[in-house]
């Protein structure tokens, strides 16, 4: 077994306490090999000196009582907003976190509303009004068509007894509104029918 491999395994054992099944073999080798003894000794000494150097950095110091006083003061305050791009990123993240559920709820509400059958009550009234408005415009358009037709075509216009204009209240029963769409039927010279 080579010294290099033994040193690597032994250094692992010394540094990290990783005993392997061959530890005894390695130790036997080190006892006989001056080079490996030297290598292991230098590493051991380095580790010891390193601990001393690190302890020397910290042993003489203690945190002052002012640290806790500062923590008390800062803990009582709300978290300050961050500056720079980090703060902007965090703010954007928070905004997205709020906006996404709101948008989802709104989308769900709109979707479910469009999927509903026309209900009775308020929705029916709204539908009636819409139809009345549509009928009103149909009437206006049909009248315009009539105006533009030759005199002969106008003669063919048959007024319907079911013509119903919107009541002053703006409310028109549904059946009447449907009938009011069929205000005029105009026979144009080409034979087509314009509604």
């Amino acid at each position: 077994m080579s010294c290099r491999r033994i040193r690597r395994e032994l250094l692992d054992l010394l540094r990290f306490g990783d005993p392997s099944s061959r530890t005894d073999t390695y130790l036997g080798h080190v006892e006989r090999c001056p080079d490996c003894q030297h290598e292991v000794a230098v590493d051991t000494r380095l580790a010891r000196e390193l601990r001393l150097a690190l302890r020397a950095r910290v042993d003489a110091y203690e945190p002052s009582p002012a640290v806790w006083r500062g923590i008390r003061l800062r803990a009582a305050d709300p978290e300050p907003a961050r500056e720079g791009w980090t703060g902007a990123l965090i703010a954007a993240g928070r905004a997205v976190r709020v906006m996404v559920p709101v948008a989802a709820i709104m989308l769900a509400a709109v979707f479910s509303w469009t999927q509903l059958d026309t209900p009775v009550g308020m929705h029916e009234l709204a539908a009636d009004r819409a139809l009345a408005s549509r009928a009103h415009w149909q009437e206006r358009i049909s009248a315009a068509v009539v105006v533009e037709q030759p005199r002969r075509a106008v003669d063919n216009i048959a007024s319907s007894p079911s013509i119903q204009l919107p009541r002053p209240s703006g409310e028109i029963p549904y059946a009447e509104a449907v009938n009011s769409v069929k205000v005029f039927t105009t026979q144009v010279p080409s034979g087509g029918v314009i509604r």
């Binding site: 540094r15 000794a41 051991t44 601990r51 950095r57 002052s64 640290v67």
Partner: protein, 183 residues
Amino acid sequence: MQSGELDAFEEFFNTYKRPVYTTALAITRDPFLAEEILQDCFVKAYRVRHRLRRDVSPLPWLQRVTTNLCYSRIARRRAFVEPLTTLITNLVADLTSRPDQVVESREIIEVLQRGIDALPPKQQTAIILYYLHGYSLAEAAEIAVCNVGTMKSRLHYALKALRARLPEERRAPLPVALRVTER
């Protein structure tokens, strides 16, 4: 501690302030900056106190926050406190004069101090966690958010770099008998 009462949090602070401060001081070598970092770390802990787990020690988390704060502060300041080197050298002289301490030369300690400062942050953290705090490989790896093999590798390269800084004549073997059980 999770009750949110500052008085209860003071007990938490007193329990963990020393290891946190030690880490900050070992990395920054500036006692005042280390105190600032200690304060920042515990203010952060206070703000997330409801999320801290009760079933595990908060120390690995505190150490992780501390090392991150240290390196972000150092990167911002870009200035180490050089006069401290002299102070530390003197401290080491006092330390080596104690009868219970192994007498080591001031020069070697000084070389190692500079060597530690010159290490990349991850290797520096590894050295501090493992050799100063005495965390196990697994604990140090958890704090540094890496696996055990990576932690081992960082320590290996750190020691290699530090050893390369030793003067040739100081790489002689110890005069005392080899003790393989010493970590």
